[in-house]
């Protein structure tokens, strides 16, 4: 009978993982933290935010970088999630993300989790982080096909065809439900380059997280 699992190594831990899973899913199963933004369970992996990059090598080959959310596990895979190269990459990515959308909570969360307190780029104020979750939600789960990307490069945005609501949209609001920009906005930026960072600056707000629960990064977290 064919084996239904494969053996992989993540950060030195030898794990047995179901075939067909991605590195990210395997990591989550075993409690290994890999940051993500554009990934959501039950939606097709997109590989857009690149925050989940890890170093992968096959059978002692030269390690290369790829996203954990799109990479399927196979026997003998060796994954590193905490190398200096990965940490540097995540930090810069988080910095880029939070500089473009400082008032989106997920961006602030990721930035503080990466330990970023200062942004070296001029701040912008985008509400959309272009994670594409709404599009995939609409397409894959609601069969709506009402949303898509338009434009290219920095002009990219989420849009309905010809900017009008198509008949296929049933106003299910799945897009709104899933959108990370719809969560109560962060406190925002006062000085350019400053971050919210309330949860890491404990000395400023000692009672930031009254419950002391892991994963709560801001006092307004509705979760």
């Amino acid at each position: 009978m064919e084996r239904k699992t494969v053996h992989i190594t993540i950060d030195g831990r030898w794990l047995e993982v179901e075939k067909g899973k991605t590195i990210l899913q395997a990591g989550r199963e075993f409690g290994i933290y890999i940051p993500t933004m554009c990934y959501m369970e039950h939606l097709a992996p997109y590989g857009g935010c690149r925050l989940c990059v890890v170093e992968i090598s096959h059978d002692g080959g030269r390690p290369f970088i790829d996203t954990a959310c799109t990479y399927e596990v196979s026997d003998g895979l060796v994954v590193q999630t905490q190398t200096p190269r990965i940490i540097r990459a995540r930090k810069i990515l988080a910095e880029l993300l939070v500089a473009s959308a400082p008032n989106v909570k997920i961006a602030q969360d990721i930035a503080s989790r990466m330990g970023i307190l200062k942004v070296r780029f001029p701040m912008e104020d985008n509400r959309c982080v272009l994670c594409g979750l709404c599009i995939r939600m609409c397409y894959e789960q609601m069969d709506g096909k009402a949303l898509g990307f338009s434009g290219r490069g920095t002009g990219r945005k989420v849009s309905m065809p010809f900017q009008t609501r198509p008949e296929t949209c049933r106003l299910c609001r799945g897009c709104e439900y899933i959108c990370p920009g719809m969560v109560v906005p962060s406190h925002g930026v006062k000085d350019p380059g400053e971050l919210c960072g309330r949860c890491v600056r404990i000395e400023e707000i000692p009672t930031c997280c009254p419950m002391g629960t892991f994963g709560c990064f801001c006092d307004q977290n509705p979760l």
Binding site: G48, A89, I92, R120, P122, R156
Partner: protein, 554 residues
């Protein structure tokens, strides 16, 4: 009389050659036609003023062979462009075309063809240099009965046009290569993905396909061999990123032209989820040659790891610009000084940028470097599609880096964060440096950002996008530092850091005042003019027009 495709020597076009004497006339105008017919064709008299004159030696060249631009070249693929009319299949067959196809279909097994291509050492000419035979073998061995063959002609690098010239000038050689490849791989359907901005290439390819169908070279039962294969044209909307294989496939399928993760290669799961073999135009055009003359002959050209010839488009500050085809392993010096004829206006050549926006700038100190896939990668550049832009002292490296980053920022599809946001930020930093607002910290941030964009981007576009910046920083750091510390642009390009003024050599002719678009030059005739710096937009028109060299650039 034949209207041929591009002869490569763009600098001297339009070109007329007269066979069998091989007389080479350049820069021919409409008014010269009568003279050529009455003098040269009828009486055999040579028109001196239409001959090519070597700008270095002042010698006139009678035929193509005597011209230094052509002498050092080895035009295996491109050479036929000048012999045939692209819209006539008879011309192509007349020079031995489709013989390789007949040989492949009737004398060789598909596995033999793949072995032959593998033995030839042919590597993908699209830029990455993946061994073609290996790709074909993988695609042949991939599971599935339906397989697709694609020719990638989505060329969009600034200053590169060899794929276009091949498809325009000799479309049948590409078709022949594709049919041989399809037979070897076991595919029955092919696409030529060509960008909409190449109307002549589209038209000539369409004509070639319909002619080939009529001649029984495409469609059912090709040449009676029982093998069937057909090709259609897929037009691209002009997105640079669609040259990337997965984005190209998405575009043919009618989806948004965006790349996807490539853990599973296109040879296993490509177009419509089926195994797909994508090769560049030039790669396909090399195939008939290998089948015709054998892998031994082919692998005798070039270096250990890179075989055959490569077409480059040589542009920039050299005397002879155009399309050149050279054997792999030729040095940059030979290309720039022998074929290119050296610097244009006596200025010193500083660097050459190879591989288009994905490549890097190679400084003059490394001009002894042999041109092949691996040595170019070693110095941080790449073969790319084969653009070669020569730069002299009048080129500012900060400006070059800025130009390429802005180009890619606009052409990025925007799917992944590092490419979309990272390139934008890199552009902002370079903009700041060019305006004299840079500091040491920005430079290190630029370097760090470049490394991360290179590491984490989704597709080849983002992964190679920082190359021009990184190589410019590595090889021309003093220039960046001059912008930051001295607030000076050594090449005199970055407008924020330069100043025009008029010296005492001014004879007061007033030519500069007339040409100035903002009326920033004031003064009286026969007296020394003066530039009002508040109004000056630093366009440089005054310097160009001044006959007494009185306009100084600081």
């Amino acid at each position: 009389m034949r209207f041929t495709g591009c002869r490569g020597f763009c600098e001297r076009g339009p070109i007329v050659t007269i066979s069998p004497l091989g007389i080479f006339y350049q820069k021919v105008q409409e008014k010269d036609v009568d003279l050529i017919l009455s003098e040269t064709v009828k009486k055999g008299k040579i028109l001196d003023y239409l001959l090519y004159e070597d700008p270095n030696t002042k010698l006139k060249a009678l035929s193509e062979k005597e011209i230094p631009f052509y002498k050092a070249q080895k035009r295996l693929v491109l050479g036929n462009n000048g012999l045939i009319e692209p819209t006539k299949i008879e011309d192509y067959i007349g020079i031995g075309g489709y013989q390789s196809l007949a040989k492949a279909l009737f004398q060789m097994k598909p596995e033999q063809i793949i072995e032959e291509v593998k033995a030839s050492g042919l590597r993908g000419r699209g830029g990455a240099g993946f061994p073609t035979g290996k790709k074909w073998e993988d695609c042949r061995n991939a599971l599935g009965s339906t397989k697709y063959i694609i020719c990638n002609c989505d060329e969009g690098d600034p200053g590169a046009y060899m794929d276009r010239s091949l498809l325009e000038g000799n479309p049948h050689s590409i078709l022949e290569g594709m049919i041989i490849g399809a037979y070897a791989i076991g595919g029955n359907h092919g696409y030529i993905y060509v960008r909409h901005e190449y109307p002549l290439a589209c038209k000539n390819a369409e004509i070639a396909i319909s002619q080939a169908r009529k001649a029984g070279l495409l469609g059912e039962n090709i040449l009676g061999s029982g093998f069937h294969f057909d090709v259609e044209i897929a037009k691209g909307g002009g997105a640079f990123v669609c040259g990337e294989s997965t984005a190209l496939i998405a575009s043919i399928e009618g989806r948004l032209g965006e790349p996807r993760s490539k853990q599973i290669h296109t040879v296993n799961r490509g177009l419509w989820g089926k195994p797909t073999n994508i090769n560049n135009v030039e790669t396909w055009a090399n195939v008939p040659l290998i089948i015709e003359k054998g892998s031994n002959w082919y692998s005798s050209i070039g270096t250990e790891e890179s075989k055959g010839t490569k077409i480059f488009s040589l542009v920039g500050r050299v005397k002879n610009t155009g399309l050149i085809e050279v054997p792999m392993g030729i040095t940059l010096k030979e290309i720039i000084f022998d074929i290119g004829g050296g610097p244009k206006d006596g200025r010193k050549i500083k660097a050459v940028q190879t591989g288009g926006p994905s490549g890097g700038c190679i400084p003059a100190s490394l001009f002894d470097l042999p041109v092949d896939f691996d040595s170019l990668t070693q110095v941080g550049s790449m073969m790319g599609s084969g653009g070669m832009i020569v730069m002299d002292e009048g080129t500012c490296m900060v400006d070059v880096a800025k130009y390429f980053v802005h180009f890619l920022e606009e052409e990025s599809c925007g799917k992944c964060l590092p490419c979309r946001e990272g390139l934008k930020r890199m552009g902002q930093i370079l903009e700041g440096i060019a305006e004299g607002n840079g500091d040491e910290e920005m430079l290190s941030l630029l370097e760090e950002l470049s490394e991360v964009v290179k590491d984490t981007s989704l597709c080849g576009l983002g992964k190679t996008a920082p190359n021009p910046v990184l190589t410019a920083l590595r090889n021309f750091r003093p220039e960046f530092e001059a912008h930051i510390h001295q607030k000076k642009c050594p090449a005199g390009v970055c407008t924020a850091l330069i100043q025009y003024s008029i010296s005492e050599d001014c004879v007061g002719c007033g030519a500069c005042a007339n040409i100035c678009p903002t009326k920033a030059i004031v003064g009286e005739k026969k007296e020394i003019y003066r530039i009002v710096s508040e109004l000056c937009i630093k366009c440089g028109s005054c310097k160009e027009v001044c006959k007494s060299n009185a306009v100084i650039l600081q």
